[in-house]
Each structure stands twice: as structure tokens, then as C-alpha cells.
């Protein structure tokens, strides 16, 4: 019989993956009007990567199905279907659909003050003229962040409209921790989260993020390999 040690909060759960697990579980999307060679570099490094020159109405499912953990997003000449701010308009849509996806700004354009929100809303910046080794390292680091329980939890809170560190945040974390000791209790967490989600769209995102949080937490406690 396994004895579960009590967890105090999400931050105390070690959800780190081995490199093999990371490669196996991760999907990357590169959105850039000109196909960058980093796509091939990533493939050579055994990452699962897809490339799209742009996202419009015909390709929107790629974002809305929430299948990617990390998106490399160019600024210029993409996202015009979402607004006049090009990459920034698309970025806003991506973050609305899935706040837990890690988006890396991937542009060599010198953005002006009015476009600086693109950098601000992105999770990280990778200049297009970064070196190959540097780019691969950065992407791997950000993928680890994408799969970290704190990142997924933070995304879940955003969808639920719960401020980080608030009483609701602590209550939900407590439910998760209690659920790890007595797995049927996780049902209470699910119900609490679902009550906070008003639209069907939010419920979809919330359900995906909650499932991922629970999976990462349970596997961390049981010591089973993730994946």
C-alpha cells in the first residue's frame, strides 16, 4: 500500500519530465509567413513540430483544439484574420482560447512602442537571428515551462477568472492536494472548477487544463513516469 505524503501547494509538486518524456509529449507549432529553418532544426532534434504560414478561418481548429504546448509566433504578415495588429491579434486569440499554451515571440522586426504588447503578452522572446543551439535550448526550456504544473494551474485560474494567490486559488489548490491523498475527492475540485466556467468554450478549455493538472499531480505523487 502506497503512503501519500501531504502536499502543501501546487508549487511543492515536482512535475518535471525527463527529456524523452518531454519530446514524446510535446507538440510545437511554428507560425511564420516565411518557413524558417528552425522547423527543420527542431525536427532533426526529434521534436514534433508543425509549420503554418498563417492561421485563418480554415486553420483555426489548429489553435482551438488546444493540441499544441508551445507556439513560435511571428509578428508580421500573420494573423490578419484576427485583426489589424497582425501577430498581436492572433496572439490575443491564442491566449484567450488557451492561456496555458506557451507562446514565444519569433520575430526579427523592430516593433514600435504601440506594438510592444506583442512582447508583453508572449511568454518568451526568441529573436529569429538567434543561433541554432541557443534556439533549441530556449525552446526546450519553454516546453518544460509549458508542462510545469504551475503553468497549467496558472492557465486554469485565468480561465476560471480566479486571481493567483486569492482565497479561491488556495481553496482549489487545497482540493487538489486533498484529492491526491484521496483520489475520489478530486471530483469536488472538478465540480468547483466547472461551476466557475460559464461558457461552453471556457468549459472545454477548463476541462483540458484540469485534466492535465490532475495528471501531472497524480503522476508526481505516485512516482510514475509522466506520459
Amino acid at each position: 500500500m502506497r503512503v501519500f505524503s501531504p502536499q502543501k501547494s501546487i508549487a511543492s509538486i515536482n512535475s518535471s519530465l525527463t527529456r524523452d518524456e518531454l519530446l514524446r509529449r510535446s507538440r510545437i507549432l511554428v507560425i511564420d509567413d516565411e518557413r524558417p529553418e528552425i522547423v527543420d532544426d527542431l525536427k532533426r532534434a526529434h521534436f514534433a513540430v508543425d509549420y503554418e504560414p498563417d492561421i485563418d478561418a480554415t486553420k483555426i481548429d489548429l489553435i482551438d483544439k488546444r493540441i499544441y504546448d508551445l507556439i513560435l509566433l511571428d509578428f508580421g504578415n500573420v494573423g490578419r484574420a484576427f485583426g489589424s495588429d497582425e501577430g498581436l491579434s492572433l496572439l490575443r486569440h491564442i491566449k484567450r482560447v488557451n492561456p496555458a499554451v506557451v507562446v514565444i515571440s519569433y520575430t526579427s522586426k523592430a516593433l514600435g512602442a504601440s506594438q510592444a504588447d506583442f512582447y508583453r503578452l508572449c511568454d518568451a522572446v526568441l529573436p529569429k537571428d538567434a543561433g541554432i543551439s541557443e534556439s533549441l535550448e530556449k525552446i526546450e526550456l519553454e516546453l518544460r515551462r509549458a508542462h510545469s504544473i504551475t503553468n497549467v494551474w496558472s492557465g486554469l485560474l485565468t480561465v476560471c477568472g480566479v486571481p493567483a494567490g486569492s482565497a479561491d486559488d488556495k481553496r482549489l489548490q487545497n482540493l487538489l492536494v486533498r484529492g491526491l491523498n484521496r483520489p475520489p475527492k478530486l471530483e469536488a475540485l472538478k465540480q468547483s472548477v466547472m461551476k466557475m466556467l460559464t461558457s461552453e468554450e471556457m468549459q472545454k478549455t477548463g476541462a483540458i487544463l484540469l485534466a492535465k493538472v490532475i495528471e501531472l499531480a497524480v503522476r508526481s505523487v505516485t512516482g510514475l513516469p509522466n506520459g
Binding site: S12, E37, K109, A116, Y119, A124, P127, D129, A130, N151
Partner: protein, 368 residues
């Protein structure tokens, strides 16, 4: 397009920059009416007139000066000027105005013409703004295209190095490595140019975790391979890398500008030393070099446009940019100078950046 035609018949309608009026000589030398310098020099009444125009809310009024001429203030965006030295029609009245009108018939202008001149001035200002915006946009496009070309050179060279020496690309054939690192150096300069063009980038949030030693080491490697093989030594406390919360967009400017600066102002063939250590919760980086004595390097060096030496090329912006990026990262920068030997000073730039102490703090910081 601005309507300049209406202003042509009004030339030479004098224009006084009221922003400069607190410096009487400069303020009046810019196109003042012929009598003005004399009147200005002769007493306070002329001063009072222009100071009054600069400070009062009289944008739409024509105001008579103590010598009978008139002025009309134009406030638009960031300009504050006075069209001045004319006699308006209809007249404002008074003996002085009558005498001025007799003396300088050419200065008599219909109020309607003055209004047209005001509109033309405002149009010219708007046009100038549009030119500036367009210039910035074109510069941005040009920089973008140059970065793309440099990227091709850099990544091609790196691929060649990785093929030639898969385990250690830096040890590949020297000429490939030199091309690769020179292109890296160009990338660093582009980052500096970009921040120079848009200092708001130093207000972006810090949403990544970076190791300070690594970014300095990377920069040193670039310089070593790009023509300065024996100029640098870099050390760190054993096992210490100095993790900080960083802004990916700007952090690399700290090592690149400090090292470039040290290289530029060092005495020939002297060593530049970089030391990374943990002290008082900060990651402390000290960049030490030997410079010609007498350059008097003080904190003033961090001000915009201040150059350390007149016999070196430079815009005086590098250290200013370092300072704003250090402050963006919650840190401080200082400079210490001490005489080392005759004619040579030791210059130390000391950067302190708050450390991230443990994984939990990093996670909290990143998820916040």
C-alpha cells in the same frame, strides 16, 4: 500634403520660438523682427511681451507689443512659437502701432492672412510628424531586412560548424567559426540599435529565467572568435551561474555593451576581466579593464549621450542603455576608478542583479 502656398506671401514673417524665450539671446535670434534685437537689448518691455506670450493662454489672440508690432501665438503638439513683427488689419489701435505701420509698410498684414499662416504652420508640423513616423517605419523595415540577411549568414555558418565538429561547434574550422561569431556580434549590435530606437523595450516584463554567467560567457566567446582571442578572462564562484528573472529581449545588451565599452577604451593588449559572484542576494558582475588615465569615468557615463573619450568613435548611448536594462531587471550599476600605474587607471563596472534563489521562487515568479 501641407498647404505651404498660403505662407509664401507672408515670408519673411518673423517667427520666435517661445520655448527658447527663457534664453533671451537664443530665443530672439531665431527670425525675430528687425527692431526686436535692439528693443530686447534696450529694456524689459520686450522681454515681458514674449514671456507673456509664452506663459499666457492667448493662442487665438493677436497681441500688440510695447513697440506697436503684433504677435500671434501658435500652440500645436509640442511647438510653441509666435508669428510676430507685423501690423494687423484691422488695426489693434494706438499711436505706437500707427508709427510702426508708417515705418515698416511691408509688415502690414490682414488678420485673415495671419490665420492662414497659423493653419499652414500647423499643417507643416503635422507633415513633419508624418515624415518622422514614416522614417521610423522605413528604418524598422530596413533593420528587419538586414537582420534577416545576417541571420542567414550566422545560421549557415553555425550549421557548417555543427557539421564539422558536432560535439563542439566552437572548435570547428576557424574560418567558419569566425564568420559565425562575427555574425553573432552583428546580432548583438542590432539589439542595441533596436533598444536605442525604442527605449520602451526596457519596460517589458521579465518573464524568463536566465543564467548571468552564461550570457557573459557567450558574449566573451563571440569576441574571442571575432578577432580578440586573448583579451578576456572570465571567472565565477565554483558552481555558481547566477539565475535571475530576465527579459529575453534586452538582457543580452548588458554584457554586449559593457564588453564592447571595455574593449574600446582599454589600453592596447591589456586584459579585460569579468567576474561573476553571489553577494547579498545579488548576482554581482564586475567588468574590469585598464584605461588611459584622465578620462574621468564617473556615474555621469550612464547619462544619455555622454562619451567617455573624444578620441574614440561612439554615440555615448551604450552605457546609458546598460543602465536602463539593469534597472529593468531590478538591479543597479556603479563604476569605480583607481590609478593603477602612471597614465593608466583601472575601471570597474559593477552590476548587481537580484538572484532567484530556488526553483520554487522561480516557478512562482514565472507563473505570477
Amino acid at each position: 500634403m501641407a498647404d505651404f502656398q498660403n505662407i509664401v506671401p507672408l515670408i519673411p514673417l518673423p517667427v520666435v520660438d517661445l520655448h527658447g524665450i527663457s534664453v533671451p539671446r537664443d530665443g530672439l535670434l531665431l527670425g525675430a523682427p528687425p527692431d526686436c534685437p535692439k528693443n530686447w537689448a534696450s529694456g524689459l518691455r520686450c522681454h515681458e511681451h514674449y514671456h507673456g506670450l509664452a506663459n499666457a493662454d492667448v493662442a487665438d489672440d493677436i497681441v500688440q507689443c510695447p513697440f506697436g508690432y503684433a504677435s500671434r501665438v501658435v500652440r500645436h503638439k509640442n511647438i510653441l512659437i509666435a508669428l510676430t513683427g507685423f501690423i494687423p488689419y484691422p488695426r489693434l489701435g494706438g499711436d505706437r502701432e500707427r508709427r510702426a505701420a508708417k515705418k515698416r509698410a511691408i509688415a502690414k498684414l490682414a488678420t485673415e492672412q495671419i490665420n492662414k499662416a497659423v493653419v499652414a504652420v500647423k499643417n507643416a508640423v503635422d507633415f513633419s510628424d508624418r515624415i518622422q513616423v514614416d522614417t521610423v517605419r522605413r528604418q524598422s523595415v530596413a533593420l528587419h531586412e538586414i537582420r534577416k540577411l545576417n541571420r542567414t549568414v550566422k545560421q549557415t555558418a553555425e550549421r557548417l560548424c555543427r557539421e564539422d565538429s558536432p560535439g563542439e561547434p566552437d572548435a570547428a574550422e576557424a574560418r567558419f567559426v569566425q564568420i559565425w561569431k562575427s555574425a553573432e556580434l552583428m546580432s548583438q549590435q542590432f539589439d542595441v540599435i533596436e533598444l536605442l530606437a525604442n527605449e520602451d523595450l526596457a519596460k517589458l516584463p521579465r518573464n524568463s529565467v536566465s543564467e548571468v554567467y552564461r550570457i557573459f560567457d557567450k558574449c566573451v566567446r563571440i569576441y574571442r572568435h571575432a578577432g580578440h582571442p586573448n583579451r578576456f578572462s572570465i571567472t565565477a564562484q565554483q558552481g555558481y551561474s547566477g539565475k535571475i528573472l530576465a527579459c529575453d529581449k534586452t538582457l543580452s545588451i548588458i554584457p554586449s555593451a559593457l564588453i564592447e565599452n571595455a574593449l574600446k577604451y582599454s589600453v592596447a593588449d591589456t586584459l579585460i576581466h569579468i567576474d561573476v559572484e553571489s553577494k547579498g542576494g545579488n548576482c554581482v558582475v564586475t567588468v574590469t579593464n585598464q584605461a588611459k588615465a584622465g578620462d574621468n569615468v564617473t556615474r555621469k557615463a550612464f547619462q544619455k549621450g555622454v562619451r567617455l573619450s573624444s578620441d574614440q568613435d561612439g554615440t555615448g548611448h551604450g552605457l546609458h542603455l546598460v543602465k536602463i536594462v539593469v534597472e529593468q531587471h531590478g538591479g543597479t550599476i556603479d563604476v569605480l576608478t583607481r590609478p593603477l600605474r602612471k597614465g593608466v587607471d583601472e575601471i570597474r563596472f559593477i552590476v548587481r542583479l537580484p538572484e532567484l534563489h530556488d526553483a520554487r521562487a522561480q516557478k512562482r515568479a514565472l507563473s505570477a
